[in-house]
Amino acid sequence: MSLRKRRNGGSPPLEAVAGNGLLDRRALLGRGIMFAGAMGTGVGTSLTGAAAEPLKDDPWSLEMGSVVPAYQVPSRFEKDVIRTRSNPNNEFRNSHARTPHHLLHGTITPNGLHFTISHSGLPDIDPAQHKLVIHGLVKQPLVYTVDSLARYPMVTRMHFVECAGNSAPMFSNEPLQVTCQALHGLSSNAEWTGVLLSTLLEETGIDPKAKWILAEGADSLGLTRSVPVKKALDDAMIALYQNGERIQPGNGYPMRLLLPGYQGNMNVKHVRRLKLLDQPAMTFFESKTYSQILPDGKMWLFHFTMEVKSFITSPSFGHSLQGPGFYEISGIAYSGNGRISKVMVSADGGKSWGQAALQGPVQPKAFTRFRMPWRWDGQPVVLQSRAWDEGGNVQPLRADFVAARGQTDKPVPTPLAFPNQHYNSITSWGIDGKGGIKHVYA
């Protein structure tokens, strides 16, 4: 349609769909046309005015380059695109490494940038020695090796893993001035390949009395979580591969329990034992850390599902806008309930919303990239995104979320703190007239 218009010499559609310059997402289909259109409005930057230096060869164009490495890493100019760490000296406590969402695009989190939380460092596991035992309320307890599991029928699925404490700084009663990485960096997305747990449980057999599975890691804490058998038989996987290569040490080498859409801590890394039980084990992490205090004085147990969430990664805190004109607003949406069905974007703090384009394929319990064309007129704006999933769940507005889940009495002093868990409300970026970006509540 756009193409035909161009051939006819007509103007492309650049219809505003919401306040402060949000444009119809269908404009993204004919990108070249849209840029022409933006320039035609007179607010785009000029492409012809600058007196450019005559082109000449740069040094790297005049000599043979460096050796091709066996395992490649990003250009040295990308040295700042790294995870931020909470415990770089490996003191006797947990470690967090957060994904730099504001410096990435697409939907796959590169393996070196996938978030890690380790409660006792990274175990140096010899895969030839690692074992996975399945026992308890089964007909026949069995033990598997990495090599034996590698011979099983496998599935490959795209899924996010998100710490239940991701976005926890947003429980603060005042917005912290930090990046997407600091706020939302404990969530990442990868293509996982492994053996469905249901396949292995078919071999062990399940006693009908079994309702829970205790999953235990081979780390020094012997980290354990209780998982409903219902989930194990649904879509749980013993994952061996992450984005095509063996799972990273920080993500569970040589195998992890993958529970799509469930809080990260339950996706037990370095999994070595699964014990079928008639009751939850009430382990340390499910009894304390991942139980949430509610404003009414009650506490949640077993809040497994990571609920529908989205946030704008570009532009966001840490970026600045270089003058009025065309920009593409872009971000990530996901839900532990299934596929993202819709993302709406606002540039006026939620007064009006326009529907964003979703980058396909939209997969269940996986990152979905959304995009929204935007023409900034240089005035202050507040950018927000709000996601819906195929189950009809909607990302709550902040006022509604705070009413239900509360916020702190005082500002949270550090983004490394975890005042509570399962924050999935809206992130707002306030842009001033000079293009500076702050984290705001709106």
Partner: protein, 176 residues
């Protein structure tokens, strides 16, 4: 339903050109006995199953705690090292960011299990069962959850009434 499933299975079998049973899996898991699993099979459940023989008192636990726990968790359970939680903590959870320590737990067995499997942090699984019972008794007594002379063992520990036990709600029973 079962007919549709059979058709699906048949379809899969045909797709892979296999004339074999649909549910066939490699069966590469090796049978393992309870005796072989015992070294890892140390979890303790709320009903007390998994608790080992042995016992300990708060007084016995105080000695073990001073030697093996206090460097991180603080002398007598208070003033821990930076980055560690104390062993005496709030008993009222009226703010969403209230620190959660021992009084938060629904079951005393959780305390025993985490000490037994994960502590002391630099040397996990080095305490004897008597020491784990004793340290559990001591920490519970610090929080006035058990008496100073109460003996903890496989009989008494699961019966300890935790002060916050009745305040939990299951987020979505349909997921279980």
């Amino acid at each position: 339903m079962s007919t549709r499933r059979s058709l699906l299975v048949l379809g899969v079998a045909l797709a892979f050109g296999a004339g074999t049973a649909a549910a066939e899996t490699p069966h590469l898991g090796k049978p393992i006995t309870d005796a072989e699993i015992a070294g890892w099979n140390i979890d303790v459940l709320p009903d007390g199953s998994g608790l080992p023989p042995g016992s300990g008192t708060p007084a016995q636990g105080a000695k073990v705690y001073a030697e093996k726990c206090s460097a991180c968790h603080g002398d007598k359970g208070v003033n821990p090292a930076a980055g560690y939680v104390p062993m005496i903590g709030p008993t009222k959870f009226d703010r969403i960011d209230t620190m959660k320590t021992i009084p938060y737990y629904k079951y005393a067995t959780t305390l025993f299990d985490v000490i037994r499997r994960s502590m002391p942090y630099p040397m996990p699984r080095t305490l004897t069962s008597d020491e784990v019972y004793a340290v559990s008794a001591y920490i519970l007594s610090l929080n006035k959850i058990v008496g100073d002379n109460d003996v903890m063992n496989a009989e008494t520990l699961p019966k300890v009434k935790m002060p916050n036990a009745d305040n939990f709600v299951i987020w979505d029973p349909g997921k279980i």
